[in-house]
Amino acid sequence: MLKGYAGRILRVDLTNEKIVRQSLPAKMAQNFIGGRGFVAKTLFDELPPDVDPLGPDNIFIAASGPLSGQFLPASGKTHFGCKSPATGGYGDSNLGGHFGPALKYAGYDMMVLNGRAALPSVLVIEDETVSIRPARNLWGMGSLSSETRLKEEMGEDFQILTIGPAGENRVAFACITHDFGRQAGRVGIGAVMGSKNIKAIAVKGTGSIPVNDPKALLEEGKRAYRNVRAKPGFTGWTPEGTAGITDWVARVGALPTRNFQTSYWDQHAKINGAAILRELKITDKGCYCCPTPCGKYGRAKTGLGHVYVEGPEFETISLLGSNCLIDDISEVAYANYVCDELGLDTISAGVVCSWAIECFEKGLLSREAIGKDVQFGDLESVVHLLECIARREGVGELLADGVKTAAQKLGHGSEAFAIHVKGLEWSGYECRNAPGMMLAYMTSDVGAHHARAWVLGHDLAGSSASVHDLIVSEGTGEHLPKSKVTGRAAKVIESQHLRPLFDLLGICRLQFMELGFEVENYERLYEVVTGKRMTLEQMLSVSERVWQLTRSVSAREIPGFGRSWDYPPERLMNDPVPDGPNRGHCISRREVDILLDEYYALRGWDANGIPKAETLISMGLADVAETISQWACHETT
């Protein structure tokens, strides 16, 4: 019997209303650990050929990991997966809160949904009882409103996922909302849920997770909590959470501003973490078992209304704040609330709105097309666009498929400033002078996202030959030197294995990343719950295997996939940053090619960025190697 896991997979065929419970194969746990690993393996093995991401044959997966739901810091993560409506390739999305543990207490490590329910439905899992119930008048309601209603009807012990109108209308950046403010935001996972006519998923579990040594888990868990509590970041980082980096990101010239036209905004102090504490915060709201609650739940008062909202996090501050020139934290929070209720990813929504506003400024979208004049720095403009998008009304029909598709349809050069990679909108760090981070965004498997690799510090350090030069070059408002483009790939690859490791284990990485909770602690915790020894190095090997697998999924799913899908938008290659610490800097096409060539070589991929068969075999992916030549566009230099 597998320890540390619930031991079962729940499969629901929504079309035929068939429910199957399967044992979790031991080999799957050993070779893919859990969470993102299970998602990648299942998508590769089970996606039918040429499947429409918004059709009934796409697969919707929710998976926890062996450390999810366990007595240790921040064990609340759930990892979702699908063929992405945004990119057409591998898609996954991570969620904090309490859902994954609840699914595990109900007896399932993973849930796989196929088909489409005949009517808008709510999937209810209560231990052994699984049912598909009519959603009735929940369909059409906002995410937060729906969760409120379901909690009232079903009881507070249920953990609930909902989509809003955006998911129902299959917006390419629709998200899933949970616990009144946590999201599985990226890749359009909410649209896939909506395309299956699933309005909500409610789980209650009263079972136990079998663990190898409960006494040792109790002691190790207590030790872990004492360790985190003793870290200076426990009191230093927690109060502001992720918003605490806003001023620094501006200081280093990496803050997306005005649709990524520039990377510094002098109004950043109005929308930083201190502003949240001053104007919004009611409660530090945490995920399951987390000692450092980064969620800031509060009340925002604006001219458009007063709302309760969890956030804004840094990403939302970046893309709906500085990127849209909204200089009031309450207004950023309000826009955050609108996204949450409509069920829109705040990152993609911010990028799409800023693109639309720039198009209006340039006369590429008219007042008639949009329905009103829109401008940067105007909350009403943003809210108008969000509502159109969620309902696919007016200009929303153009924007709802994401900035890549919208720009392709609109043309007139608007593709140059559609800020995305592979069709997923860029998240909160501007990188024209951060080549490692640029490479991270270019090669992230789901599209332009920072969750896979984050190396901005190395880029800053890499801007100078020595620490002395780095020290001397820094100053407020001073000009940063151009960062070195070569030698970036190794750090990116290291980060691409380490950060997603937490997605395999089913826990949050912030205790490690932000507070310095030693990553070796997880070896001991893994052993205590599973009874198996896995060194950190072995875990990172699994993470590397998963990386090669997700690349292979995209190579199979996206016709013509390869190097051309790894490029950043024209704006970032052609337009030097006009002002701020990185003024004058840009990354050229030639430099982008240097980054990719170095990266592909280290990855064991060919010149078109396709994994070579021998690389896949060395990663324990012989089954992928066997078939890759049939569907991938190999290219040799």
């Binding site: 007595f71 997770i209 078992c289 987390c290």
Partner: protein, 128 residues
């Protein structure tokens, strides 16, 4: 000693419930916890902790005297308990629980594990 809830400090993490079940039953299962956390969302956006204050209403309600105080802490004797559920009904804070796999109701034993672990200092021990 008594356990006090400072709900204004609670972040809703639930580590207290998990450590309660793990300490008292040796299982990773928050449904075996003797306290509960209520999220008041979307408004007013706070958490409320319900816990046992050793008031003794459960003991009073028990028809077979299966619940007795030892050093001020009311404890359930599972060998005597007949699983009638009267104590659960009688508890004014709603913190007596039953569980399908347990013969007797779950009740706070004042083991102090929750107060020890709470990273928010939302559960504190005071002299009675």
């Amino acid at each position: 000693m008594r356990l006090i809830a400072k709900s204004e400090r609670c972040s809703g993490c639930g580590a207290c419930r998990l450590v309660c079940g793990l300490t008292n039953y040796g299982e990773v299962n928050p449904a075996m916890a003797a306290l509960s956390i209520h999220g008041r969302f979307p408004a007013p956006g706070v958490y409320e902790i319900s816990l046992c204050d050793q008031c003794g209403a459960c003991a009073e309600a028990c028809p077979v005297d299966a619940i007795e105080a030892q050093n001020g802490v009311y404890l359930v004797n599972a060998d005597v308990c007949i699983s009638c559920g009267e104590c659960i009904e009688a508890c004014p804070h709603g913190v007596m629980f039953d569980h399908a796999r347990l013969d007797a109701p779950i009740k706070c034993t004042l083991c102090q594990a929750c107060a020890e672990i709470c990273p928010r200092d939302a559960l504190v021990l005071e002299e009675a």
